[in-house]
Subunit: 130 residues, 8 copies
């Protein structure tokens, strides 16, 4: 069992994921890591999320960043979304992640801000323990 | 069998869908219509898309409009996405639909522009027949 | 003791807060509610946050929405921020809430999306219990 | 006869066109390629589009990217538009291509996303064959 | 012979055209008026522009406002473009009109600012006379 | 006497001015060139504009680009404004130049598009001669 | 002699000016009020600013809001600029006012925020007295 | 006692602070300098602002730039805010600083424009002396 499941939508998002790992390690939080595209590999994503016993998910994605929302639609655990910058400065990913429809909440952090995603996960894990 | 499958992400998007229906009817194109949220009802969406024999999909959604991209990830047929305006003038839905990652194409039309989605479907159906 | 502390930056944000209350009640989650401006009443905000035993904070604010970040700087519990729309469609509040510096995480949800703030709190409370 | 006609508005858009060619070749789709500015060479564009027997058009353009819309006004075949990034990150070309008036549909893909333009063409060609 | 040719891309742009007429009349400038869509009626536009002896063109359009640029590609006379506001506040039309490629200049005025289009035409006519 | 007066708001805008000069020379149009800030040297600007016999003004400026509007307020001749890109991609200068109040028209061209400013001046000079 | 000179660029900005007056009166600050367009009435503006003995200027303007910058170029006193919302939500005026070139500072407050302009003036007057 | 207190939200903002120092020195204005994060070190910020006898504050911050507003909530002296550019070109910091709620004024200058912050402080100090 791990505390946090970290999922990147693309291998090109790994620089942001590295920041997540560093912060989680610093706080002694265990995690699992996968690269799975919500768009290109929906079945594998479905299997991974449903099979995971992580208490918090961190989903990292750029462009039309559907990953965090799709993860949130497959679990009742909290999902943190990290928008990754690209040709439109990450505004596309930011709006895609934060403007979720009613009923499927995602916790969005700042563009490329892997550190805060990890720290938010740490707070959430602590809230449970309290 | 129908030519076009029209899917709204929410019942509140139906005003845009009505414009699609009117134009499809005008061109004698048959269609099926469903309201299915990509985020709130992913299993039903999966079943519907995979079970459909439509030759073109039109997906209509607002906010973090994941619907067109998710549909495109479940079929090899062309998918047309229509961004619906809301608190951010539809810019959120527009960027979510148009900025798809490489490998999963979506044909985006203008904000609330159901007419053009239908007319694009008509052209696509014609391109096949040619 | 309450599960969630809901804070509005201004009485004019209460329409969004009502959506939070409705969803929290629906899920049987207890909450406390305050209207405290981060800018106009910093001392009272400080006292309230430090004195609260809530496990999750929801901070609702428009314009230069400093409230969620200031709350997050005064507690180690998770803080959810809700941007409220105004003259700039809520883009000002959205960027103010989501673009937090490294070290002080805030979980941002969509513009005026009180429902999702409540549902994210419910998930976070659940993650703790699991 | 070719399957797809690829038109760039300017020789400076060729890097995006190269991505289109690579994907079309990968799928065994034949294509013709031209550089014709909608603004600087309207007569030649008119002649080319009307004389072409391509089943799908891909029009690549930056700035005030009128090319895809002008092509769509001269043919009944499907037209895919690819916005090219420049001083305004491609937002100018994106809005110019996607916000077409009612009656003249263009299928817009993401900024500089030549791969998806090609893949959308492949899907459209397949929809015809089905 | 007229001094100015005023062209709207759509009958729905006429409110802006009325402001142009009022100012031109105030300055005793003669004008001709047409509603011709660059996208839906390209042949008629071509004939009208090439057959006109107007010394200045004013082209009024919303959305993907190709009209001013297309007019400028068919004449060597000065072309003034007026972006018309719509679902995206006129930002789409503004960028479409102002971001013309090198070689085909358009004189863009403010969103819905028919008055200034007319006054700019008056100045241009005066510059010629001087 | 010169045909065109070219004014830069700052010496740092000269790269754009060079494009103007090249095109004007290509068309055999005479010009005068000055660097005068509307904000830092308003008296000198006033004297220069009022003393000039140029038939067209081209004003090049970045940031809060007041220069073209101020020039237009001091002459009845046509004024062309060129927004220069900077930290905000030139969007600040573009909006400052194009969104003029009623009564003081400025002809805005694209960001950094000195070529089109020159070509627009050429057309305006020709319109007078016609 | 007055403490503050309040200048609107247009009579249509008076609703914002009213908020300024109310706050200044509340703090017992004397003021003078004028409506003078920087673009349409530059001479009168010049005379007014140079002849005024006010210790602080508040300039209120929409669109391409050159007024605050022009005032700042004609006095060594502090100038506060208030952007007024219009067709582009006040983003045009906001960027025009805040993005001043080096050497001519303007103190920008929020869109339509006459109250804060007045309160900033009160603070500035107090800083002088201290 | 110093004339101006300069506060950076992060050591990474010091390049902008250097511009402030240079201009203040040029005008013979004394200043004190601190790096204090509004979010990460709120207590220290509180102590510093309340203990300072500076007549004007300059607060420099990027991202969700709460610093200027928080400083303004702890003093009655004028506060100048300088937005620092980052992944979103400084638009996030600009909106966070300029869109303050009624009652807590901040004087915003342009993105990274440390020079104008210093010059505005010089004017404010002069207004007091006048």
């Amino acid at each position: 069992m791990v505390d946090v499941a970290v999922i990147c939508g693309s291998a090109s998002d790994e620089a942001v994921a590295e920041k997540v790992f560093a912060k989680l390690q610093e706080h002694g939080v265990s995690y699992d890591y996968q690269v799975i595209s919500a768009h290109r590999d929906p079945e594998r994503l479905d299997g991974y999320v449903k099979g995971s016993d992580a208490r918090v998910f961190i989903a990292i994605a750029g462009l039309s960043a559907a990953l965090p929302g799709v993860v949130a639609s497959k679990t009742e655990r909290p999902v943190i979304g990290v928008p990754v910058s690209g040709k439109l400065m990450g505004l596309d990913a930011l709006l895609s992640i934060v403007q979720m429809p009613k009923g499927v909440p995602v916790a969005c952090v700042g563009v490329d801000n892997g550190e805060n995603a990890a720290l938010l996960a740490v707070r959430i894990l602590g809230a449970g323990r309290a």
